[in-house]
Symmetry: C2
Subunit: 114 residues, 2 copies
C-alpha cells in the first residue's frame, strides 16, 4: 500500500517548450512500483497553458480545481471540476487556465510514459 499526502510530493516546474506556468506533482509513478498506471497532478497558474502537442500515448484527465479550456481540432471546450477527458494517442491538444486561480487536473498515463 502506498499513501501519499499532497505535502509529501514536491511540485516541479515543467520546462517543456510551449509550456507556460505549468507545475507537476508526480503522485504515483513507476518508481513507486505501480504495475500499470501512473498518476500526475498538473497545476496551471494564471495565464498558464500546456504545449499544443500530440504524443504516442493516450492520457486520461480529471479536473480537480479551477476553470480552463481544452483546445483540439480548432475547438476550445470549457472545463471545470469533475470533468473527465480521454485524450487519444496522436491527437493534438492543449490545456489552458481560464481563471485567476490555479487550474488543476490529474493526468493518468501508462506507467512507461509517467
Amino acid at each position: 500500500m502506498i499513501i501519499k499526502h499532497p505535502e509529501d510530493v514536491p511540485s516541479t516546474e515543467v520546462e517543456m517548450e510551449g509550456a507556460e506556468k505549468v507545475k507537476k506533482r508526480a503522485l504515483i509513478m513507476k518508481e513507486d512500483g505501480t504495475p500499470s498506471i501512473a498518476m500526475r497532478l498538473f497545476e496551471l497558474g494564471e495565464g498558464g497553458h500546456t504545449p499544443f502537442h500530440a504524443h504516442e500515448w493516450e492520457h486520461i484527465n480529471y479536473i480537480v480545481e479551477g476553470d480552463g479550456f481544452i483546445k483540439f481540432e480548432g475547438r476550445d471546450v470549457p472545463l471545470k471540476k469533475g470533468d473527465s477527458i480521454l485524450v487519444p494517442a496522436g491527437e493534438k491538444h492543449q490545456y489552458r487556465n481560464a481563471g485567476k486561480t490555479p487550474f488543476k487536473f490529474l493526468c493518468m498515463v501508462p506507467k512507461e510514459y509517467g
Copy 2:
C-alpha cells in the same frame, strides 16, 4: 477526444456484498474506447463503506472530496482531498466515510477490470 461533464454520467448504487451506501460513476471505460486505463468515481454516503476485500488487480485512488479512512493490515489511515493511494493486487482494503458529507474518490484500474 472524449469529454464528459459530471451530469453526463449516471450514478448507480453498488450492490456488492459488504458495500454500504456506495455509489459509482463510470467516467472513462472500455466502452468509451479507452486503450488501457478505466476511471470511476465512487461516492460514500454518511456511514458508508466499501467491502473489506482483496482482488487480483491493483487500483490507484485519488481523494476528491470529504474525509475518510482506508483500512488495511489492521491500520486505519485517515484520508482527505488530494491524497493518493496505490492499492496493490491481493492486498485487503476498505474505504470508509468518516464525515457527515460525501466521501468521494477516483479509482483507476486496468480497463479490463473497469
